[in-house]
Structure formats: structure tokens, C-alpha cells
Symmetry: C2
Subunit: 448 residues, 2 copies
Amino acid sequence: MQEQKNIAVVGSGLVGSLLALYLKKAGHQVTVFDRRPDVRKVEFSGRSINLAMSDRGWKALRTVGIEEEIRNLALPLDKRAMHVNDKPLYFQKYGKEGEAIFSISRGVLNRKMIDLAEDAGVKFRFEEKVWDIDMPEAKLYTGETEKSEWKEYDFELIFGADGAFSRIRHKMQRQSRFNYSQHFIDVGYKELTIPANEDGSHKLDNASFHIWPRGEFMLIAMPNLNGSFTCTLFMPFEGEYSFDTITTEEKADDFFEKFFPDIKAEISNLKRDFFKNPTSAMVTIKCFPWAFNDKIALVGDSAHAIVPFYGQGMNAGFEDISVLFDKMKKHENDWENIFKAYQKERKPNADAIAELSYQNFIEMSRKTADPEFLLRKKIEKRFGEKHPENWIPLYSRVTFSDRPYAEALAIGERQRRIMDEVMKTENIKEKWDQQEIEEKILKLLAAR
Amino acid sequence: MQEQKNIAVVGSGLVGSLLALYLKKAGHQVTVFDRRPDVRKVEFSGRSINLAMSDRGWKALRTVGIEEEIRNLALPLDKRAMHVNDKPLYFQKYGKEGEAIFSISRGVLNRKMIDLAEDAGVKFRFEEKVWDIDMPEAKLYTGETEKSEWKEYDFELIFGADGAFSRIRHKMQRQSRFNYSQHFIDVGYKELTIPANEDGSHKLDNASFHIWPRGEFMLIAMPNLNGSFTCTLFMPFEGEYSFDTITTEEKADDFFEKFFPDIKAEISNLKRDFFKNPTSAMVTIKCFPWAFNDKIALVGDSAHAIVPFYGQGMNAGFEDISVLFDKMKKHENDWENIFKAYQKERKPNADAIAELSYQNFIEMSRKTADPEFLLRKKIEKRFGEKHPENWIPLYSRVTFSDRPYAEALAIGERQRRIMDEVMKTENIKEKWDQQEIEEKILKLLAAR
């Protein structure tokens, strides 16, 4: 058992509230600060993509004993439902029988997590903005505005779980030799909604992740418990079809009529929501170090924000907590080494999932219509089904496993190189499903 | 002639004072703010690497009519003087006959530039720290501290020339979709001094850039007009021989005795200065965009800080001003398009010189002792001398030219690929100076 510490967690989002629960259950005094009002008392903002909880997320919840409670709020999705123009709807299974990702609304989950943390004895201070910290002394300053009088708090440890635009990281960033990058992609997103049927049932299959791929842009929909779907439109900020050009209700109407005729009627208040809901940007953030002495550490998006195209943002943040907790068990009261071991293990994996998420963005936006890419996927799928022990697909390594992301990335790159060779085979289009190809892959796999 | 504008330049360093002079001569009202005291009235800090002015820098000075005045403060260096262990001193010419870089002390140059700008009518406000700006309104706020009462100034345009840790960029960085990265290298530097002889002459050849390469670390020395040399020790922060391990005067003494015995006695106050002078970090900073509407723009290090291993930091900053001035002539009073054209032209070139400078760091620290690398350089040199029109060395393209950095980088990469092929030749060590090799390079150059 660790010596009790007086700990501040900045940020009451998913990662902040889960971390607070872990720390409280480990015997610490925990106060969570958030500049926003209590999410349980306000309408949740219309700028969230539904979450896809997968193995890494569940593992972190299980360890702290709340897996079942959260599972009741989630819907399992075992397949993609592809809504491709001029083709009947078709499905792609995510993994093996029984493997699924779980759709859950960010607002619903966040409220529940705060309830659970509060019940365990975590103290929450909402609408209290942290403006600055004293890193060597673990002091924290809050106030109305940057220039108003500030209140000072003394802690022994401070965690920054305050998201991609973290104030805690912002302070760490002023140190010399602090590496940092923020890279925005040129695509934004907007939340829209498909409401439930009158009897409360879902308008589309509720065990599928629905995708309308359209090349430069894409619509997705994930089911909620209440029968509705949260939809997300991903589209470039600038260009022919873009958030820049769809400037009137008429243009929004025409755009959906042209590209999403099958679903347009189902999206409620399309024209209103398109302009009421904000257009959000997506960023990859990397930094290092994640910790300062035995005082300050970053977790979740504040350390490694990623683009959402692998559905791993929350899962990666929750896995940070699993790793941090392992290090707490190992190094007991030596917080400096807890933080060192934590950042050493997590940094390469955070970089790997950032890379994988970005690759998926490129893949989804540029390659879904490329026949060579589709053939490649078909060959991989066939081989993987015949030799499941030799070819675990990258998606499964990321989603249905808790092996390190960096390992998934490395094996995925090896698989890509093997497939590059396979695709050079003469007449590959004709003989993709023949014995010869299977043997070629086996041979390439055997060669180290 | 442009309409007169009331313009603020933040930062009175080399780029800030040159930009102020340009703007004043173009007919604008110009106020320069600097949080530091007037550099003409204080001792210059012991943390600077001497500057190497080359063609791009001179061109920017020439256009505004101050080339001659600055040339009087500089010493031409037409070669490297290599102080390699267990070898006699040898020299490497930088370029063709008459080509040289010019050593100039940062303090001396900065004082002169401020004098020239002040004489032209630029107003300087020293010891006045800019804390914030209002970007759409081009307002600027200064004050004692971040939390003290601030003074508000109204301008029409604001330039951020406030260096790698720019406050102006810091404000721009809070915009969504602003890309930014800062990457520190694991090597630091420290300034040391070789004083003049008693008669005022130089202790080493004063037409050379002196280098003591030692693998993981390196000492350089550049002459000053007053007979002294400014030396810079580049060394890792951590590791066997590092700023971390040299912690006592005795250890500093032993280190210089072991690795720099030929020069140790000449460095004045070695043991004192080693601990008195700060150890400085080196960073590459990239960002985009560099401008906001027709109101705010970044120049020099605030937009693109680079590591110093190509000697191009100041030259690149001065070239920003040349390009900005070209755009001012072209777009007249349309400042939004001036800024757009400026950043569009400069960004790829700033990225290219950042990459080249980083490559030179890797090259200097890892490859100077590699026999294959040295053979490669020998072959290139031989070929370049026989076919000067076909093989302008990368160093010359960067240093003795005002062609875009991005072009130098691209051609340099092509040359590297050609040399990769050449180095695959069997028995290259024996036949490196034979006709066969020359013909192979010509053939590779001819193949597009």
C-alpha cells in the first residue's frame, strides 16, 4: 500500500475521472478540478463522436471493478455496415465470433464515471479554472480569469488530464528541452443525429458501425441506448465539397440529397443542426517528457491526442492508467520512478497509435475506392482465415488485444511489406485466391 | 509607394532591427518593442555562437544600403581549419576562389543594426515586455508582469521578430488549426573565449573557421575584429562526456587536457567561464501559418528556428525580409496578400534549411570519423573540380547562392542518391579516382 498523498487531477473528462477513481481506491486524497460545469447538470455539447470501447478500455475498467456497470451503457458492434453508392448495403465483421467494439455516448459515460468517482470519495471542483501550477512545489492556481486574483492550492502530486489543449502541459512546455508538436489535419467534423423510431427502436441495425464512404468525405453513425444514432460528418475545411462551401441551408440540403439520399430523411433537424453544431478540428499532439520530477504527470489526450480514425483515443488514455497503476505497484512510494517508468513504457506506444490513427485517416479518405487496395484486403482476409495463427489483422491487434500498440504497428508494417511483394505477382488480379499466392505469403512470412 | 502604416515590430534582435529599417525606409512609422535592455548599454550575454554572414544575409543588407557598413565589422573566412587529433592542422576551402563566409559577433552586429535603424527614425522601446496581442485589431499589451496592469497600444500591423520562444507566435498558436512543433536536440553548447595576443593579433589563423571534431562533441572557434576568438563547445547534455558529468573545475580541466590539449592553454578563464557561462539548448521550431489576416506576421526564428550547424539562422531570417519586401512591391497596400505570398514562398524554404541544418548536425556528430563518408566526400570533391557546372556542392548552393533552400535540398538529395550508387562500385576504395568512376557519375547525372 502506498503512503497517502494529497493529489489533484486537472480535468473531469473520461480519463481524469477514471484516474481519480483509481487513485482514491489506492488510498489517496483526490480532488478533481474542471473549468467546465458539472457535465451531469448540463446538456452535453453537440461536438462529440461516439466512443468505441475496446479491449484496452475494458481492461482498465475491470481492474478498478466497474466493467459491468459501464457495459450496461454500451451497445456491442461486431461489424461495419457499408453504405456505398449504387451498391446494396453490405457488412464487414470486425473480428472473430464474439469480438465487438462497444458504442457508448461520451456524455452518458462521463456522467457515470463522475458518479462512480464521487461515490468512492473523490472531491470534484467544477467551474474552477486552473491557470497556472508551480511544478517543483505542486501548487495549483485557480481563478475567474488569467488576470484576476488567484486561489492557491497545495498538493503533493498533480495530474494533467485536461485534454488536447492542456493547461498543465502548456506550463511544462515552457521548460527548455521539452519536445512538443501539434498537427491539425485539413478535415473537420460535425455531429448530427438520427432519432429513434416512435417505439424507441433504432432506425438502422444497432449492432453495426455504419459508414457512408464518399471519397473526400464520409458520414458515420453509431447507436445509442435510447434508440438514436450519433452521426459524424467528416469533410475537408476547404475545397469543392467542404465546410467552407456549404454555407446555406439550401446548400446543406442539396449536399445531403446528392451524396446521402438513403439517410437524409432520417437525420433530424439536418439543416438546423448543420449550422447549430460547431465544426470541430482534429489534431495529433505529441510531447515529451510527460512528467516532472515526482510532482507532475500527464495522462490521456494532454500527453498524446490522436485523430479519431482508429477509435482508440479513450482506450489509449485508459491504458495509460493501467500502466501507471502497474508502476505504482512496482515502485510503491517512489513517484519519480513511477513517472519515469510510466512515460518510458507509454511514449512509444502513444506514438504508435498516433501513427496508426493517422494512417487510417489517409486510408479511409484516399483508398476505400482504390481497386488495388480492396484486392489487397481481400487477399489478406483469405489468408488470415486459412492461417489465423500466422496473420492476425492489424485492426484486431489494435482493438481486440492489450499487446503494445508499438508491436501492432511493427507487425502491421511487416505485413504491409509482405503484401507489397505479393501485389507484384504477375496477373495477381486473376490468381489472387490460388494456392500459389498462399504459398508465397507463407514463404515471405518464414523469411525473417 | 505604400500607404503609410503604424507598425510594431516585437523584438530588437538582428531580424527585428533589420525589418524595422526596411519598413522605415519604405515610409512607415515603426516602433520596436523589446523586453530586454538596450543591447548597446549592457554587456552581451555569454551565450552566443558567432555569426557566419553569407550571400543571403549580404543581399538583404545590400538592398537596404548597409552592406558596406556591416562588412567593416566582419572577417572573411574562406576555409575550415581542421584540428584533428594526431594529425597536423589541415584546411578545407569553402568554395571557389573569392568565396567566403564572414565571421561577425552577434553583439557587435546587433548594436550596429539598432544604431542604423534609430538613425533612420525607428523608435525603440526597450525593457517593455509584450504580454499579449489582439490579433484582429493589431493591439499590443505591455506591462511589468503577466498579472500587472497592462498598457495598450494600437497599431495597424504587428510583426513578431521575437525569436524562437516568440510571444506573438505563442498567441497565434492558440488558434485552432495552427500547426506547431518544437524539437530539441540532445546536444547543448557553451561559449568560451580565446583572447587576443598582447599586440592585438589573433592567436590562430583569422581567415579560418576552426573546428576540433571529437566524435560525440566538438569545439569551434570564430575570429572577432578585436583579435579574440569566440569558441563554442557542442556536447551532449547526458552521457559519458557531457555537460551532466563535467561538474567540477577539476573535471573541466581534465576534459580539456585530454581532448583539446593544443588549445587548452589559450582559452582564457576556461574553468571560470565553463561554469559562469550558461549551457544552452538548441531547438528546431516549425509552424504554420505565419500570418493572421492583414494584421500579424512572423519573421526569423519566431517562424522557423533552426539548429546552428549550417550557419544559416540569421541568413534565413534576413532572407525572409528580402522576400517580404518583394511581396510588398508586388501587392502594394494589400497586406493580406503580401503576407499570404510571403509565407507561401518562405515556408518550404524554411523547412528545407531546417532539414539541412539538422542533417549537418547528424553528419558532424556521427560521420566525420567514418572512412566511407570521407571517401565519398573525396570523390565528390574530385568530380566537382573536374565538372564544376555539373556538380555544385550542397554547401555552396546553401551558402554562396540565393537560390531557394528547397532547391538546394532537392538537388542535394539527388546527389546523395547518385553517390549511394557510386559507393556500391566494387573496389571503390582502390579506384575512386579513376576515369570509370567519373563516367559513372556522368551517366547517373544524365539519367533523369
